[in-house]
């Protein structure tokens, strides 16, 4: 058994998938909707979890899975009726199964009496099953043809006994794939054996059916093994073929072997001269290989399921291996950029072939990276499939009727992005159901269907994935949002904001529109956290609302978290990368555009508004930088909260796709820094965190903001390689 331990990981991974399949199926299971294939899939999922669990000896798990499976079997057979209560029990059973899997994985045991209630209701359901005919079992009880005539004979001196075995195969035994030669060989392997073949049943050649067996055998075997070992050889054939085993009385092994005439009574007919069985069999086998198959034409093997070949073209690869590959390709991109940079210094007009080769190399490198990245791509469906459960729970908790519609489940995105989508989507759907949808009565009163709809969709758009959560609820209550915002000091009283600006106030930290904190949305997490999580992944989120008709939350994310489109800038001798998603534009201000404020903070007039300037050299303490904004450049950036900053830098060096590297794996996180990357010359450049820079500048440096930033460090970090 020890050898199989290595499959535990596969087992747990796969069981996780099975749980998902079962859950999806169970959530669709309603009294009026019993899709047999779906029910069967649930049964299979539970059955497979149980089967694997048995192989690893997870007894608690197997015991529970068995109860679960029994009920599912009843559902499958139609002996247990599908009721709401049953579905609830099954869904909870699936949860329990998941918990037991976790215990098995962690090597812990569930507490005593764990899930006792669920087990009890499973047992109740099982007991309620309409009893099927019980005699089915009896029909297939072990065949009486197996007779083990232990004649109470004494054991030979060396502990060996002699048995006579008569074997008369069912004529069409070969058609079940059983082969008498293997059985005869196995008998021989037990000890000393004498094999006689009775060819008396052979018809004339003209009447011989090549696939039928006309022979029978008598084997005298002297062995230390016992009757059950001999029976075991005929395990698969004894119910239809004649197998007689008789033990001889005490004799010396040597004499038993030589006594061909010492036959048991039942073997009377078996004493004709023996042709060598293997030879006869070989002829049969050859004949059978060429025999016409009368039944072959009836069923066309290829006729069904054209899609089933899929599995043939996929392989499973350890994620670590892919990560290594991604890493190496990342290195290659850097090296390629490095080479390209050096080549730029070569004299013009010479080395034409080298330059062309390098150009091709650059092209191939790009393609290679795209291919490798696509290996990690996963459909977002794996996240979407978790949402029906949530919707169901929320609908129950709020007393609202909700129907979830999903589309674009097959849209692919990097695995890390998929993983990081779960929380934001959960919050967004919570928000839609809790705040967006009205109660059924209210809906009816306003002429809407009682059931509200939440539409979850995904699509690729210009190199990003766009996910939309739309509801047909009441839309954002703008006067209420404004009032709240003013109360909370987020907006000055009397300020005029556009509808869009008001809608987006809900993303501000500390904003909550619910009159009382409900137990659904009010878990201390608001849309501000959603926005922060999304932006920490390089994404954006926005809301579009129409009063009375509903809201649409649209979030867009990069397709991968391993590379980033950035702008390389320089400050003094240092270079930094600004994520392109943060950049609005860069410009060189005139003196007239700049205004000093009391607290030494400059502002600049751009695009009709005053924008605060942040001198990167001052914030980061970089010597030798341009300190006069009119001599350097101002990069206008937008933070996640929509706040704008003007970053004063020396130069903008150019746009570049960079590979994101962790600063934390060997060092630690730093204020204002999201991660690091390696530029074409092999040097490290820090990737700036615009929101962090803004905080630093507001708090007059890093020290005061450390504690606050560390709290947010718990939010998902970009995937780094």
């Amino acid at each position: 058994m020890e050898d199989l331990q290595q499959f535990k990981q596969t087992y747990f991974e796969e069981s996780g998938e099975f749980l998902g399949v079962a859950e999806t199926g169970l959530l669709r299971l309603t009294p009026g909707n019993a899709d047999m294939e779906e029910i069967n899939a649930i049964f299979r999922a539970v059955h497979s979890i149980k089967g694997g669990g048995g192989a690893f000896g997870f007894s608690d798990l197997v015991a529970f899975a068995h109860e679960f499976e029994t009920v599912m079997d009843g559902v499958r057979n139609g002996t247990i009726a599908i009721t709401d209560e049953l579905v609830d029990t099954l869904i909870r059973s699936n949860d329990v199964l998941g918990q037991l899997l976790a215990h098995a994985r962690d090597g812990t045991r569930p507490p005593a009496g764990f899930a006792g209630q669920i087990v009890a209701s499973l047992k109740n359901f099982a007991a309620s099953a309409i009893q099927e005919d019980a005699d089915v079992e009896e029909l297939y009880a072990p065949s009486p043809a197996v007779t083990a005539a232990a004649t109470g004979g004494a054991t030979a001196a060396d502990g060996r006994r002699t048995y006579s075995v008569r074997f008369r195969p069912k004529a069409d035994l070969l058609l079940t794939g059983n082969d008498p030669t293997f059985m005869l060989r196995a008998l021989k392997a037990l000890g000393d054996a004498e094999i006689e073949c009775d060819i008396g049943g052979l018809p004339t050649l003209a009447h011989l059916e090549p696939e039928l067996i006309y022979l029978q055998w008598l084997v005298t075997v002297t062995t230390a093994k016992n009757t059950s070992d001999i029976q075991d050889i005929f395990e698969f054939v004894s119910d239809e073929s004649l197998v007689e085993i008789a033990e001889h009385s005490a004799e010396s092994p040597a004499s038993a072997a030589s006594k061909a005439e010492a036959k048991p009574p039942a073997a009377a007919a078996a004493s004709k001269a023996g042709a060598a069985p293997p030879a006869v069999y070989a002829t049969e086998a050859a004949a059978s290989a060429t025999a016409a198959k009368p039944t072959a034409g009836r069923s066309s093997a290829q006729s069904e399921g054209g899609h089933a070949n899929l599995g043939n073209h996929t392989i499973r690869v350890d994620l670590d291996k892919i990560d290594r590959l991604v890493n190496m390709v990342g290195e290659m991109v850097i090296t390629q950029a490095m080479v390209a940079e050096h080549v730029r210094d070569l004299p013009q007009g010479e080395f034409q072939e080298l330059l062309e080769g390098l150009e091709q190399l650059a092209q191939h490198t790009r393609e290679l990276r795209e291919s490798v990245m696509s290996i990690r791509a996963q459909p977002v469906g794996s996240v979407f499939s978790r949402m029906p459960r949530l919707v169901r729970e929320l609908a129950t908790a709020t007393g609202k009727d909700v129907s979830l519609v999903t589309s674009g489940e097959n849209t692919e995105v990097d695995k890390t992005v998929v993983e990081n989508l779960v929380d934001p989507l959960t919050h967004m759907i919570r928000n839609s159901i809790d705040h967006g949808l009205e109660s059924p009565d209210t809906r009816e009163a306003t002429g809407k269907p009682r059931t509200g709809t939440v539409h979850l969709s995904a699509a690729h758009r210009s190199g990003r994935i766009v996910i939309e959560v739309a509801d047909d609820g009441k839309g954002i209550d703008r006067p209420r949002v404004m009032q709240k915002a003013v109360e909370k000091g987020l907006v000055q009283a009397g300020a005029t904001l556009s509808d869009e600006e008001i809608d987006n106030l809900i993303f501000l930290p500390g904003f909550s529109t619910a009159d009382k904190i409900s137990n659904i949305s009010g878990r201390g997490v608001g849309m501000d956290v959603v926005r922060r999580n999304i932006t920490s992944l390089g994404g954006r989120i926005g809301v579009y609302s129409t009063p009375g008709q509903g809201s649409r939350f649209i979030l867009s994310l990069p397709l991968t978290l391993a590379v980033l489109d950035g702008m390389v800038i320089s400050v003094g001798a240092e270079r930094f990368v600004l994520p392109l998603t943060n950049i609005i534009e860069s410009l060189r201000p005139k003196i007239a555009d700049l205004h000093g404020l009391v607290n030494k903070c400059d502002v600049m007039m751009a695009r009709g508004e005053y924008i605060r300037l942040v001198y990167l050299h001052a914030l980061f303490g970089i010597p030798g930088a341009i300190t006069d904004a009119t001599k350097g450049l101002v990069v206008l950036v937008e933070t996640e909260d929509g706040g704008r900053l003007g970053l004063v830098v020396d130069e903008v060096l150019g746009q570049q796709q960079v590979v994101i590297k962790s600063l934390e794996s060997n060092y630690r996180r730093l204020d204002g820094v999201a991660a690091a990357t390696i530029l074409g010359d092999g040097r490290v450049a820090l990737i700036l965190d615009v929101a962090g820079l803004q905080e630093m500048s507001q708090h007059g440096g890093s020290a005061s903001s450390v504690a606050q930033r560390q709290v947010t460090a718990a939010s998902p970090q970009p995937h780094v390689m």
């Binding site: 794939g177 069923s299 070949n309």
Partner: protein
């Protein structure tokens, strides 16, 4: 020449365990996810033994066995079915579909090897 065995199971864990065990015993092993997949692979490659789970999506084990028995290639090839303990009814169904024998889940590696040897040497 090594004998080639196909394991047909929708459970990856089960396939991998069968495959590992039999490879350790000197067999070549190919895998398939379900009956239809197995049938597709089997028509292109001859194997010496098929071990099939019964309950699988797309095409179940019994259908697979019937279809294989209807082909010239697999008329007499050993086919073992994977089944659970108290499944005598299934065993009988399997037998009438043309199964050679069965392996009871969960199996231990030694038992699996001995059953495989029993039917294909």
């Amino acid at each position: 020449m090594k004998k080639k065995v196909m394991t047909v199971d929708d459970s990856r864990t089960m396939r991998e365990m069968v495959s590992f065990t039999l490879k350790g015993a000197g067999y070549d092993v190919v895998e398939a996810n379900d009956g239809q997949h197995a049938l597709n692979v089997l028509t292109a490659n001859k194997v010496d033994l098929v071990i099939a789970d019964l309950n699988m999506p797309i095409m179940d084990g019994l259908t697979l066995i019937r279809k294989l028995r209807a082909t010239a290639q697999y008329r007499t090839t050993p086919i073992l079915m994977l089944t659970t303990e108290a499944d005598d009814k299934k065993k009988a169904e399997g037998r009438s579909a043309g199964a050679t024998g069965w392996i009871v889940k969960p199996f231990d590696p030694a038992k699996l090897i001995s059953v495989v040897q029993k039917v294909c040497g």
